[in-house]
């Protein structure tokens, strides 16, 4: 059975760009939350988000011209470059048709779409031809195409729009293509950008926090909208060993299912079943899991539902469970990609990232150890990475130390 390992991390995030910065930020419990600047947030009760600062695509991209692509596409392509560099893989040594790309997203290019909507409000739809440049950059599929074009690779190039769990779907599809022998190297993860209508939409749903994201806290209010690109380099173990690659961890398996319940409200029983599917695919038992990188958006509903599912699966012994959304905000389609990075860093570097902003335990979430506020030295051998989404799109990935 072909085994799949992670050999490169490419984070473009509000807490750090590049694997070293990202890892040290996780360990330090650094917050990437700041006052939103990509639009004027003054009218909203919440003015904070997890925007990426200091992102200069021109210095990270080598082939594509960022002026021809939207922000999310640039995030994805830059993240993939960072992952390739981090892995020390020489792309020219791999036949291009053996390298594929899978990018997950929630809203694709929302800033481009907003610019188009604004053009229509200001000038009318009949003058859409003046906005042709925006329409050319808008299609959601371009996120994966940006990566494939940047890297010059000819395998599968696919964008999965499964919203806030999309990176886990991407990692899963990459896993399947590698284990099926259809590729030797896969770039997988997610990308999304902050945009005003997303901020306004979550506010309207009552899901937005007022200033900070505090997962599992008794007084948690909700999420903060974030952005970024989280691309991981996956390859077969044989391919990695043959080139002497540094291996972070192994992707053991994953599970997918659907609540089929409600457009936004989650179902704990379906989530629990998704975890079990992931365990079965990874050929582990629940007892083997040493740490869980939670979906942990910080909304009252998610954290309660996720905890209920954890209790169902793990009983009274829930492994330490932290949410890096406390630091990054909710990076949407990129979220479970950042979670995957935190998971493999936990295994490779021996620490559990903290849930920051944690002040008061919630008695309804008794049994959950959220690794409050400070990273913890540990030696996890098996890590579970959760991803849930609107529409009941559940995806859980399982990582393990390479024996």
């Amino acid at each position: 059975m072909t085994r799949v390992v992670i050999t490169g991390l490419g984070p473009v995030s509000s807490i750090g760009i590049g694997a070293a910065d990202f890892a040290s930020a996780l360990r330090a419990g650094r917050s990437g939350i700041s006052r939103i600047t990509s639009f004027d947030p003054a009218r909203y009760p919440c003015t904070n988000g997890g925007e990426v600062r200091g992102f200069d695509p021109g210095t990270l991209l080598r082939r594509i011209d960022p002026n021809e692509w939207g922000r999310s596409s640039s995030f994805a392509a830059a993240a993939a470059r960072l992952a390739a560099d981090d892995s020390a893989l020489v792309l020219a040594d791999v036949p291009p048709d053996r390298v594929g790309v899978v990018v997950g997203t929630t809203t694709g290019e929302p800033q481009v779409m907003e610019a188009f909507a604004r053009h229509v409000v200001d000038r009318g739809l009949a003058r859409a031809p003046e906005a042709v440049g925006l329409l050319l950059r808008l299609p959601t599929e371009r996120l994966a195409h940006a990566v494939s074009t940047e890297l010059g690779v000819t395998g599968e190039s696919i964008t999965l729009g499964t919203a806030c769990s999309a990176s886990n779907y991407a990692l899963g599809y990459a896993f399947d293509l590698l284990t099926d022998g259809m590729a030797d190297v896969m770039f997988a993860g997610g990308a999304d950008s902050v945009a005003r209508y997303i901020h306004a939409g979550f506010l309207r749903l009552g899901a937005l926090a007022s200033s900070a994201c505090a997962p599992f806290d008794r007084d948690r209010e909700g999420l903060l909208v974030g952005e970024g690109g989280s691309m991981l380099l996956l390859e077969t173990l044989v391919h990695a060993r043959r080139r002497g690659a540094r291996i972070y961890a192994e992707l053991l398996g994953y599970g997918l299912n659907c609540d089929a319940y409600h457009a936004v409200a989650p179902s704990s029983s379906a989530i629990a079943e998704c975890m079990r599917l992931a365990h079965r695919d990874a050929k582990i038992t629940a007892a083997a899991v040493d740490y869980i990188c939670a979906h942990g958006t910080g909304t009252p509903t998610n954290d309660a539902t996720e905890t209920a599912a954890l209790r169902e699966v793990f009983g009274p012994r829930i492994p330490p469970t932290s949410s890096i959304k406390s630091m990054l905000g909710h990076t949407m389609g990129a979220a479970s990609g950042f979670g995957a990075m935190a998971s493999v860093l936990a295994i490779a570097k021996g620490f559990l990232p903290p849930t920051i902003n944690y002040r008061r335990p919630d008695p309804d979430l008794a049994g959950v150890d959220p690794v409050p506020n400070r990273a913890r030295a540990a030696s996890p051998r098996v890590v579970q990475n959760n991803g849930f989404a609107f529409g009941g799109n559940n995806a859980v990935t399982i990582f393990g130390a390479v024996a």
């Binding site: 694709g108 409000v121 329409l135 599929e141 000819t154 999965l160 306004a200 609540d259």
Partner: protein, 363 residues
């Protein structure tokens, strides 16, 4: 061989009776669409489906769903009924949904954004409409309304959506992550999608009017399909990408060779090539395909349907086979491309389902 079969199809098309025809067929400009929306449209005629009333679906909440979601729901319902697959508590966790669409509903996202621009209050926008701005809304609604709890995936793709959906579906079924998948593609006709097609799709730029449609297929392993009519076997599917932006034909040629190899067929064993891409003929000629091999498509009748295009082509192929045994066992090659450089191909073998012709089971 993928070992996968299709046991049901559901399709909503702007030209339901249209038949596959040679690629140089003079295009129909569609019907008068000026009354469809209050907004200006790029062409006064286009291929919008006439008389589609989402309320006829009998599924509550039609007004909160985009036209794309309602079209997809209708297609999925028809496909399930056509296959005779019964979904119950014993199997709903093993029946999945994979939907391919370009943006979901660009109209829904634009309308929502427009409210946040024009309405000065901080609590602008409708909570009920926000989920519909996200591209996975359609697949989620299909799962909710038909009670399908298995793998549920949305593939964001334009012209190559159907082939990517087919490749993803094949992987999910081969890996045993589902037993059956409702695999569909959809595009809606709205002012936003019409302008995007006109200005950003190669065919639209050349004057092809926009279209819309939805096509869904019940796909399962041959073993699992026992007892249901097999309309087609997916003998092979492959996708790839040309990082030069689709200027060459190398990756397209590789894709075609890969599927012919997987299917164990030479070009001379194909009955037809179904495609909307004019370059396909050059690729096949270079592979020494017979000169009389027909290249047929549907765009002349349905316009530029973006993500739905190749799904309508596939439905058109199955319709060709459906009512007689005349074409039984014929193998067709489906070839697709997109404007950024995506390429894909599949080999489909199909059979008819004429009344009283007997029960064809999974191979």
């Amino acid at each position: 061989m993928t070992g996968l079969v299709i046991t049901g199809v559901g399709c909503l098309s702007p030209a339901a009776a249209a038949q596959l025809a040679p690629l140089d067929t003079t295009p129909d400009l569609g019907r008068d669409v000026t009354a469809c929306y209050p907004d200006p449209l790029p062409t006064p005629r286009a291929h919008a489906i006439a008389d589609f009333d989402p309320r006829q679906l009998g599924l509550k909440g039609a007004a909160f769903r985009s036209r794309a979601t309602n079209l997809a729901l209708a297609a999925c319902g028809r496909a399930l009924a056509d296959s005779g697959l019964l979904v119950g508590d014993d199997n709903r966790g093993r029946v999945g949904v994979v939907i391919g669409c370009a943006e979901g509903s660009l109209k829904a996202a634009c309308d929502y954004t427009t409210v946040t621009i024009t309405d000065p209050s901080p609590r602008h926008g409708s909570a009920a409409l926000f989920p519909g701005t996200v591209i996975n809304h359609t697949a989620g609604q299909c799962a909710i309304h038909y009670g399908l709890k298995g793998v549920n995936t949305t593939i964001a793709s334009g012209r190559l959506a159907f082939l990517r959906v087919l490749a993803y579906t094949a992987t999910m079924l081969r890996r045993g992550r589902a037993d059956t998948i409702l695999a569909g593609v959809v595009e809606e006709f709205t002012p936003q999608s019409a302008w995007l097609s006109r200005l950003a799709e190669p065919a639209g730029i050349q004057g092809m009017p926009a279209g819309e449609g939805a096509a869904a297929f019940v796909v399962e392993s041959a073993d699992h399909a026992r007892g249901r009519h097999v309309d087609a076997a997916v003998l092979a599917v492959a996708t790839g990408f040309d990082p030069t932006g689709g200027r060459g034909t190398r990756q397209l040629t590789d894709c075609v060779l890969r599927v012919l190899g997987q299917a164990g067929l030479g070009p001379h064993e194909l009955s037809r090539v179904i495609t909307d891409d004019q370059r396909t003929a050059a690729v096949l000629r270079a592979l020494h395909a017979p000169a009389e091999l027909p290249y047929v498509g549907l765009r002349h009748a349905v316009g530029e349907c973006r993500a739905a295009g190749d799904g309508l082509l596939m439905a058109g192929l199955l319709a060709l086979h459906r009512d007689s045994t005349r074409h039984d066992g014929q193998c067709s090659l489906l070839v697709g491309t997109d404007r950024d450089g995506g390429v894909g191909a599949a080999v489909i073998q199909a059979w008819g389902r004429p009344p009283g012709a007997g029960h064809r089971e999974g191979h």
